[in-house]
C-alpha cells in the first residue's frame, strides 16, 4: 500500500505532537503522525514529577498533564494518528517505510517530513564500567518506567551514577517509595541536571551527592552486591587509592542521552558529531530538502517547553516548504562555535528572517557576555546544564554575510573589560 500525504511526522512525543498540530494549523491537510507506542505522549507519561510547562503554559504541570493537553488538542484535529506503527526505513528521496498491525508494511510518499524520534539513554557499555554482569543494572529512564508506569521496584538499595535530571528525579522517587539511595555519583565537579532538581530531589531528602567521583567497578554474583566508588583527578581518571566499597542491590545509570538518529543516518542526513543530531538551518531543515527535525532528535533539550516550541517551528516551516514559500537562497552563513561553546544550533543560516539560536556552554561561567555575530548579551550566570536561547534580528547578522561565517562565543565580562 502506498499513501501519499502532505506531511509525515515520525514520533508522537512532545515534539511530534506539536509539529503535527502546528502544521495542521498552518494549512496542511493530509498529515500522518507515526508512533511506535500504543499511546501518544512519548516519555512524558513516565515523567510523573512536576516542573513541566512553566514557560509554555506558565503553569507547573506534571508530565502526564502536559501530555494530555496536547493529546486532547491533537485528537480534536483531523491529523491521522498511527499508533503501534514502526518506521523501518527512511530514504534520501523522502520515502518512508513503516509497519503496523492494521496495514502491514506500507510506503509513505510525503511532501515533507518532520523527524521527532527523540533520544535514548546511554548504557553501561557506552561508558565501559568494568566488573561482572549481574542483574540489577538499569538505566535511570528504564527504572522510571518500571516504577511509575508498570508498578515494579527494581531494587531496595540504590547507587545512582550520573546526576542528570532523570538520575536526580529517580533518587527522590525511589526515596519516597521507601528505598534507600546510598549516593548519587557524578564525575564532573558540578551536577549534570537543573539546579532546581539538585535542591528539590537531593538536598530536600539528604541524599548524598559525590562530585568528582565515579563507579569504578560493579560486583555481584547473579545480582548486584555492590559497587566500588572512587574519586577522579582533574583529568577524569580514577584515583585507585580512593576506591571504596558501597553495598547496593541496584545501580542506576543516568549518564547522558543520545539523539535517536538511526533513520536519519540511513537516509544520509548529515549529522553533527558533537551533538549527534542532524545539521540544520534556521528553519530546522536538515541537509535533505523537505526533511525537518525537532526536539531531542536534534539536540537533547533541558526543558520539554523548548521541545514543544521546536516542534511547532518545524511543523510550521514544513507547511511553508510544502506551499513553496521556503525557497532556498543561494547563500549560506556558517555558524562557528568558539570560546566556551559546547554546542550551538542552527549550524547554518540561509534566509533573511530572524534566527533563534540555542546553545550550551562548556563550563559554568559568571558575569558572562555572549556574542553571536553583531549581537551581544550579558548573563549573570551561565551553566552547561541549561540550554540558552537567543533570537537575532536579521540586522544582527548583516556584517557576517561578507565573510560567510558567524562566530558564537562566550567570555567572562571582567576579563575582557580589563583588556580594553
Amino acid at each position: 500500500m502506498i499513501r501519499e500525504v502532505d506531511l509525515a511526522v515520525i514520533g508522537a512525543g512532545p515534539a511530534g505532537m506539536a509539529a503535527a498540530i502546528s502544521a495542521r494549523e498552518a494549512g496542511l491537510d493530509n498529515i500522518l503522525l507515526l508512533e511506535r507506542a500504543e499511546y501518544p505522549g512519548g516519555l512524558l507519561h513516565q515523567c510523573i514529577h512536576n516542573g513541566f510547562g512553566l514557560h509554555y503554559f506558565k503553569e507547573d504541570l506534571t508530565g502526564p498533564e502536559y501530555a494530555e493537553r496536547f493529546i486532547t488538542k491533537l485528537t480534536s484535529t483531523d491529523v491521522t494518528l498511527c499508533l503501534n506503527t514502526m518506521v523501518t526505513h527512511l530514504n534520501y528521496d523522502r520515502t518512508v517505510v513503516a509497519i503496523n498491525p492494521l496495514w502491514g508494511e506500507f510506503i509513505i510518499l510525503p511532501k515533507a517530513i518532520v523527524l521527532a524520534m527523540g533520544c535514548r539513554e546511554k548504557t553501561r557499555f557506552s561508558i565501559g564500567i568494568p566488573g561482572s554482569r549481574p542483574s540489577g543494572i538499569f538505566t535511570a529512564g528504564l527504572a522510571q518506567k518500571l516504577v511509575n508506569v508498570d508498578g515494579y521496584m527494581p531494587g531496595g538499595e540504590f547507587v545512582i551514577l550520573g546526576s542528570g535530571d532523570i538520575g536526580m528525579i529517580m533518587a527522590r522517587r525511589l526515596h519516597l517509595e521507601g528505598a534507600t539511595v546510598k549516593a548519587v555519583v557524578e564525575i564532573m565537579p558540578h551536577v549534570g541536571g537543573l539546579i532546581r532538581n539538585e535542591v528539590q530531589c537531593l538536598h530536600d531528602f539528604d541524599i548524598p551527592i559525590l562530585l568528582e567521583h565515579t563507579v569504578s567497578e560493579i560486583y555481584g554474583n547473579g545480582r548486584v552486591e555492590g559497587v566500588k566508588i572512587a574519586q577522579v583527578d582533574k583529568y577524569g581518571s580514577i584515583m585507585k587509592d580512593t576506591e571504596r566499597d558501597v553495598g547496593c542491590d541496584c545501580l542506576l545509570l543516568s549518564v547522558g542521552l543520545i539523539p535517536e538518529n538511526e533513520l536519519s543516518s540511513e537516509a544520509g542526513i548529515e549529522l553533527d558529531p558533537q551533538i549527534g543530531g542532524p545539521v540544520i538551518d534556521e528553519y530546522l531543515q536538515t541537509s535533505i530538502e523537505g526533511i525537518f527535525a525537532a526536539g531531542n532528535v536534534l539536540q537533547v533539550w533541558d526543558l520539554v517547553d523548548s521541545v514543544t516550541v521546536d516542534g511547532e517551528r518545524a511543523g510550521a516551516n514544513a507547511a511553508r516548504y510544502v506551499a513553496g514559500e521556503l525557497e532556498k537562497e543561494p547563500r549560506e552563513l556558517k555558524v562557528i562555535p568558539g570560546e566556551n561553546i559546547r554546542t550551538v544550533t542552527p549550524h547554518r543560516i540561509v534566509g533573511d528572517e530572524s534566527v533563534e539560536f540555542a546553545l550550551r556552554v562548556k563550563k559554568p561561567i559568571e558575569n558572562a557576555e555572549l556574542t553571536v555575530g553583531g549581537y551581544r548579551k550579558r548573563y549573570r550566570v551561565m551553566s552547561p546544564t541549561e540550554v540558552v536561547k537567543v533570537t537575532l534580528k536579521p540586522s544582527d547578522l548583516d556584517t557576517c554575510w561578507e565573510c560567510g561565517e558567524v562566530s558564537v562565543y562566550c567570555s567572562e565580562r571582567g576579563k575582557e573589560e580589563a583588556n580594553e
Partner: protein
C-alpha cells in the same frame, strides 16, 4: 533557587523576610519568601488502578505539602486505589491528612482514543 532557575538571595531576620534579591519576576519573590517561611513541595506519585492496561495512575497534590510531611503522605496514598474511569484533575484523596491539599489525577483513564485511525 527558584523553579524557573533564577538564583535568589533572601535576607531573613528571625522568621521575617527583610529583602529579596536576584529575582527576575514576581513569582520568584513569592517563591523565595515561601521557601524561607514555609518550605513546601508539590507531591507527585502514583496510585493503583483496577485497569490492567494501566496499573498505575499518576497523581499530584494540588497545593504544596510541608516538606517534613511528604513521607507520611506517601504512606497514606499507598493505601488508596481507583476504580473505573478517571478524569484528568479528578480528586482521588480529599484534604490529605488534614493538610488542606487534595490528591488529584494527572491523566485520564479510558480517554477515548482510536488504536489506529485510518484517516480514509
Amino acid at each position: 533557587m527558584c523553579p524557573l532557575g533564577c538564583r535568589i538571595e533572601v535576607q531573613v531576620e528571625g522568621k521575617e523576610v527583610k529583602g529579596v534579591h536576584g529575582d527576575r519576576c514576581k513569582k520568584g519573590v513569592k517563591y523565595a519568601q515561601q521557601e524561607v517561611v514555609f518550605p513546601g513541595r508539590i507531591l507527585t506519585t502514583t496510585v493503583r488502578t483496577d485497569n490492567p492496561e494501566m496499573p498505575l495512575l499518576p497523581v499530584r497534590s494540588n497545593q504544596a505539602i510541608p516538606k517534613e510531611m511528604l513521607i507520611e503522605c506517601m504512606r497514606h496514598i499507598s493505601k488508596h486505589a481507583t476504580n473505573g474511569p478517571v478524569r484528568l484533575g479528578q480528586t482521588v484523596i480529599e484534604n490529605i491528612l488534614g493538610l488542606g491539599a487534595d490528591i488529584v489525577a494527572c491523566r485520564s483513564i479510558s480517554l477515548e482514543l482510536p488504536k489506529i485511525s485510518t484517516g480514509a
